[in-house]
């Protein structure tokens, strides 16, 4: 028998608490949407961290503001606005940041310019709308408990598209991310892949902000990948751990928030941070313990033959 929604109680019996959670449609929707988002944010965030494009990711997350305000103005669901503006923002960043021959200063200037104009557009839409954006708090901090069936379907569709594209371009994208010059010489279209990745990043950011809100997207986009990359340099294991950490963070955060009076976004971001810090501490402790011991026998350098000074 479902407990009182207004006053859920933790029974300290895990199985009973979980089954209580799953009795509510809004909770299953939240857990489902959270899982979808954890997977795509994790995988795409893993590449974002590897490519050092967190500034682009941050700017794309702010696209939710013009996205939501234009959607309010047009009277369409906010999610449509999110996805539309994230896509446009990704294309603009791709054009302005120089593609293949990117220099960091040029790239960040281009992204900064896109960020400013997007926020300005959002401001304009809000004044045209003539009122206060109703769900400003949801926009900023997310509202996983309010995820509708339609939103779950939309997220699932976006995730399928993103995973298919990622599967098709994954290997050349990894090559171009880590080693653009050699990849280019091998005929990999480095510039086109860079733009495609920004589009994927836009999708992932828009999807994530449905759950965590604009301000907390990095809790899922950066936290789990950075944790996994701190632990291992093996790519497949790292990607696997990213998904596991993402699911852990989202589900635990949603579960705790159900039994608490505090919002889910807070728990998700805090758990994500805690997992990251814990991993860094464990890695540092491992390095500290092996400090002083040779990590490997010194490589036998071939004796320098020929002429040296």
């Amino acid at each position: 028998m479902p407990a009182d929604i207004a006053n859920p109680r933790l029974s300290w019996n895990l199985a009973q608490d979980v089954s209580e959670l799953l009795e509510y449609h809004f909770m299953t929707n939240a857990l489902l949407a959270g899982a979808i988002v954890a997977v795509i944010a994790g995988l795409i965030g893993w590449l974002m961290v590897l490519r050092r494009e967190t500034f682009a990711g941050h700017t794309l997350s702010l696209m939710a503001f013009p996205g939501a305000s234009s959607a309010a103005l047009l009277g369409v669901p906010a999610a449509w606005g999110y996805f539309a503006f994230c896509g446009v923002g990704a294309l603009a960043i791709g054009r302005l940041s120089g593609g293949e021959r990117r220099a960091w200063s040029e790239e960040s200037a281009g992204i900064g310019a896109v960020q400013a104009v997007a926020l300005a557009a959002g401001f304009l839409f809000v004044s045209l709308y003539g009122g206060v954006l109703g769900d400003l708090e949801n926009l900023l901090f997310g509202n996983p408990i309010g995820v509708s069936d339609g939103q779950v379907l939309l997220l699932a569709a976006v995730a399928v598209v993103a995973l298919l594209v990622l599967g098709a371009i994954g290997r050349p994208l990894l090559f171009a991310s880590i080693d653009p010059h050699v990849a280019g010489a091998r005929g990999v279209p480095v510039g086109a892949l860079s733009s495609t990745f920004l589009l994927l990043l836009g999708l992932a950011v828009a999807a994530t902000s449905q759950i965590t809100g604009v301000l907390l997207v990095f809790a899922l986009l950066v936290g789990p990948p950075a944790t996994a990359q701190a632990i291992t340099a093996r790519p497949l294991l790292s990607l696997g751990l990213t998904v596991v950490f993402g699911l852990f963070v989202v589900w635990l955060g949603l579960g705790i928030s159900y039994f608490s009076v505090y919002p889910a976004g807070f728990f998700i971001a805090t758990i994500s941070f805690a997992v990251y810090v814990l991993a860094r501490v464990l890695v540092a402790a491992r390095a500290w313990r092996s400090y002083g011991r040779p990590r490997r026998p010194p490589a036998p350098e071939p004796s320098p033959s020929g002429v040296i000074a």
Binding site: L174, A185, P302, P304
Partner: protein, 297 residues
């Protein structure tokens, strides 16, 4: 047998005939003719800005010639990119790059193949191919002597260790031609000598033609078949003892240049105009060259 699946064509590894290149209105070099035979080890020398990397770009098909002709492995440049191992100018991986050396080498093998990254274990019929790929990667890592550190994150490795893994990456597809852009740059002297020796082993052992861009010929002296020297938009090619002489370099630079031989066999070039310190000067300099060539031609 090349593993590239392409029919191996006849003809020398590299053949430039009367080639000229212009980049952004500036003539980089003109009327350059040179041949690198199969299995030959040739160094490409010259000061900064003399157009060494541009020459490699021409061979990769990334830069068009203004005049003359170029053939690479018997075909047009860019046609046989699968049979070329390319090591771009000194790049080092950021300390935070969390991929292993072995993954970097593996990307050299099949990083340009579309599909899932590092094929999932359940993909049918790929077990044999995966094993062959793993064995090939292990083989080249052994060949460059990187076995003891190939499983560590690439960002944690020293410059010399990274360079060996990058050479392994360039080798992993059994190329017929290796284009190495300053592989010895920013290595310490013992590492310069051992990487030069490694390249020679690869060249002789696998019959791979090597064109290696270098600043300093000394670490390479015991191994080279020939050198190509680029200066003032022109090139001279030949054996070391004919090219790196006071006479030839003085003629090439149009300035008095002296080549001294130290008692240990090292060559010291005195009076060679190095690249000017300021970019501004360098462009003015280059423009002046372009101008004089235009008149000469």
């Amino acid at each position: 047998m090349p593993a590239t699946g392409l029919p191996r064509r006849d003809g020398p590894a590299v053949e430039l005939d009367g080639a000229s290149v212009r980049v952004g209105g500036r003539v980089v070099w003109r009327d350059v003719s040179l041949t690198v035979a199969r299995g030959e080890f040739v160094a490409l020398l010259g000061a900064n800005g003399s157009g060494k990397s541009t020459l490699l770009k021409v061979l990769l098909g990334a830069q068009r010639l203004q005049a003359g002709s170029v053939r690479v492995l018997g075909g047009a440049p860019g046609e046989s990119s699968r049979a070329i191992g390319y090591l771009p100018q000194r790049r080092s991986f950021d300390q935070g790059t969390r991929l292993r050396g072995i993954d970097i080498v593996r990307l050299g093998l099949d990083g340009d193949r579309w599909g899932l990254p590092l094929a999932p274990p359940w993909s049918a019929g790929s077990a044999r191919r995966r094993r062959a790929a793993r064995e090939r990667v292990a083989e080249v890592i052994e060949m460059v002597g990187a076995g003891s550190y190939a499983r560590r994150a690439i960002g944690e490795l020293s410059g010399g260790e990274q360079q060996r893994l990058l050479i392994a990456q360039a080798l992993v597809r059994r190329p017929e031609l290796l284009l190495l852009d300053e592989p010895l740059d920013s290595l310490d002297l013992p590492n310069q000598a051992s990487v030069a020796g490694l390249v020679e082993d690869i060249c002789r052992g696998a019959g791979v033609a090597v064109l290696l861009v270098a600043h300093d010929v000394n670490p390479l002296l015991p191994y080279l078949d020939r050198v190509v020297y680029l200066a003032r938009g022109r090139a001279v090619e030949g054996p070391v003892e004919q090219v790196i002489t006071s006479e030839t370099l003085t003629r090439l630079y149009g300035l008095p240049v002296e080549v001294l031989r130290a008692s240990d066999g090292r060559l010291v070039v005195v009076g060679q105009p190095e690249a000017p310190a300021h970019h501004h000067d360098r462009h003015a300099h280059a423009a002046a060259h372009g101008h004089s060539h235009a008149h000469a031609g």
